[in-house]
């Protein structure tokens, strides 16, 4: 089944003199996780606020779960969950009271709300702090409580604005597990993040936004592929060997071979990466050279991202 659950076309939103969104398109298929990436001020939060009916927009159209965000806000609200960029829990209440309160506002019965609260407290590792006031929670604990609150109803579409900012590694893992679990059960997730490893791990597709416009919409591996081939890199143990290593790498290279004197390394893009690595390693041994390191470097999402944002900024300057 490949229906589209979130669809935004040509969204435009101005705040006085800044165009937060400038013809932005977005679409997410049912049951997938869509990552929204972009530098600060790119328009991610604005997009999330529009899709969750919190903010009106100037141009374009958006549907969520088959309902028009502008005209059928009520229907949309019945099908979404939201964790905003800013933590939104009632700090006077305890963790449990918060979850029961939101459960009640989602129209669960008292018993059902308590049961849900209990499960979520467990799932997000808050059981020990369950009956303490949220005021005394650490930032990460508040964040987890906030996330739990948006998952009370296992919504059809879940929006998470920087869900793991400020969480420790264990907390991030809990969030990732919860998000993957919801997605596996059919929830469509739209999340914004600044962590590329998170996007790489969680998202089926990544949309990159900058200055309120689409830069790219692709799968994580597709994004990396755009960065081109793997690179073979040899780090010399003795800088005097660099010319010899240059020759070895050049022999298997599929492009320009670069010597980096400062790092004492030689690298080049390669096509058949494993064969190239084996061939180069054999040559190093045959010539009795000692090297500090030899290996394949795969482009990371960070590089893909920086490259994308970099070109965009350059275009801007022109």
């Amino acid at each position: 089944m490949t229906t589209t659950t979130v669809e935004a076309v040509n969204l435009g939103k101005r705040f006085k003199d800044t165009a937060a969104l400038d013809g932005f398109d977005l679409s997410a298929r049912s049951g997938t996780v869509l990552g929204l990436l972009g530098p600060n001020g790119a328009g991610k939060t604005t997009t999330v606020r529009i899709l969750t009916t919190l903010l009106r927009f100037d141009t374009g159209s958006a549907t969520v779960a088959g309902f028009d965000v502008a005209r059928d806000a009520r229907q949309v609200r019945r099908r979404i969950g939201l964790t905003g960029q800013q933590t939104a829990v009632d700090e006077v209440l305890t963790a449990r009271q918060n979850l029961v309160l939101f459960g009640r506002l989602f129209r669960l019965t008292k018993a059902r709300a308590r049961e849900r609260a209990d499960r979520l407290l467990d799932q997000f590792g808050l059981q020990d702090a369950a009956d303490r006031q949220a005021k005394g929670f650490s930032g990460g604990m508040k964040r987890r409580l906030d996330l739990a609150a948006s998952m009370i109803l296992a919504p059809q579409v879940l929006f998470l604005d920087e869900p793991t900012t400020g969480l420790d590694p264990a907390g991030r893992r809990e969030v990732w597990d919860a998000v993957s679990g919801l997605a596996a059960d059919g929830t469509t997730v739209v999340l914004t993040t600044h962590y590329l490893d998170e996007a790489d791990r969680l998202c089926d597709r990544i949309a990159v936004i900058d200055h309120g416009r689409n830069l790219v919409d692709d799968t994580p591996s597709g994004l990396k592929r755009r960065m081109g081939a793997d690179r073979l890199e040899i780090v010399a143990a003795d800088p005097a060997d660099l010319p010899a290593l240059h020759a070895i790498v050049a022999a298997v290279a599929d492009g320009e071979t670069v010597t980096d004197e400062a790092a004492s390394s030689v690298s080049a893009p390669v096509k058949e990466s494993v064969a190239a690595l084996t061939a180069a390693a054999t040559s190093v041994r045959d010539q009795d050279l000692t090297v500090a390191d030899i290996g394949l470097r795969r482009p990371t999402l960070d590089e893909a991202f920086l490259e994308l944002i970099g070109t965009d900024t350059k275009e801007e300057r022109r």
């Binding site: 606020r49 969750t52 009916t53 919190l54 903010l55 009106r56 009520r74 609200r77 019945r78 099908r79 979404i80 939201l82 905003g84 800013q86 933590t87 939104a88 829990v89 009632d90 700090e91 006077v92 209440l93 009271q97 309160l101 939101f102 009640r104 506002l105 989602f106 129209r107 499960r119 799932q123 006031q133 609150a149 998952m151 109803l153 296992a154 059809q156 919860a178 679990g181 919801l182 059960d185 059919g186 929830t187």
Partner: protein
């Protein structure tokens, strides 16, 4: 995790039922706040109590409001004024609470949920009115302790109590509107500069007659004065009313003013809430 079915379609009767349910939930939340932070509650009462002590024991001895000499019957005059003033200043608590809920993102979360959108505003009002009733009871007890008495019948006394809440109820809309209007809690906090003259340029502590003409006119027409004068009549406390229409018809004015305030500020508050998404 168990996926829950989306909410079933609602009929009109169902919507009414759920709306009431939402009001109750929000009111319940407010009362949990009260329960959890009794100290806050006492702080909010602190100001009127300090005012009582100041006016009754510090300035009161020099004030001749009844024309029978300085200090005579001042407690009987000032107490009802103080009740009215506490109700008048209460809107700041509302504004502060609303501004905080907005700043902390709580309002946004609630707006993205399928609950009745009026629940935040109406629930706030119900909770604050109930809160005010408790405030008033505590103040009554303090007043009784320092020698104030109601000379009115039980029903007149109760009527005065209701009139006070009536004023508070109307001003809550002002508080909600301002709370949604201000950028942050700090701004809501600085409202005191606005509220103070509104509370004080009135017949709360001094008869308007004793003020310069123009100021006296403002004080006489102040909604807080209308309520203060009306409850003085009901309590059988000294009135010291002038000749202006609201002073002569205090009871009527005390009934009408809150209607006027509600008629203006309820739509403003609701509209402001709806327009939060701009």
């Amino acid at each position: 995790m168990t996926a829950l079915a989306p909410l079933p379609d609602e009929t009109f009767a169902g919507r009414v039922k759920w709306t009431l349910h939402d009001y109750r939930t929000i009111v319940g939340q407010e009362f949990t706040h009260l329960w959890r932070q009794p100290v806050n509650f006492l702080w909010q009462l602190g100001f009127p109590i300090v005012m009582v002590l100041l006016f009754v024991y510090v300035f009161g001895s020099a004030m001749d409001v009844t024309g029978q000499g300085a200090g005579v019957d001042y407690v009987a005059y000032a107490m009802p004024g103080l009740f009215a003033m506490t109700m008048a200043f209460g809107f700041m608590n509302t504004a502060w609470a609303v501004a905080e809920a907005k700043e902390k993102g709580f309002v946004d979360r609630v707006r993205s949920m399928p609950m009745a959108s009026s629940a935040v505003v109406v629930g706030r009002n119900i909770a604050d009115t109930l809160h005010a009733a408790i405030d008033l009871l505590v103040l009554f007890l303090i007043a009784l302790a320092i020698g104030w008495r109601s000379e009115g019948t039980f029903w007149e006394t109760l009527g005065a109590f209701v009139l006070l809440l009536w004023l508070r109820f109307a001003l809550i809309w002002v508080g909600v509107w301002i709370g949604l209007l201000v950028k942050n809690v700090e701004q809501a906090g600085s409202l005191f500069a606005l509220a103070f003259p509104f509370g004080m340029v009135s017949s709360v502590f001094t008869p308007p007659e004793l003020m310069p003409g123009w100021l006296g006119a403002i004080a006489a027409w102040n909604p807080v004065s209308a309520t203060a004068t009306a409850i003085r009549e009901l309590f059988g406390n000294p009135v010291a009313a002038g000749n202006s229409w609201p002073e002569q018809h205090a009871l009527m004015a005390a009934l009408i003013w809150p209607v006027v305030i509600t008629a203006i500020f309820l739509p403003l508050a609701v509209r402001r809430f709806r327009n939060l998404g701009r």
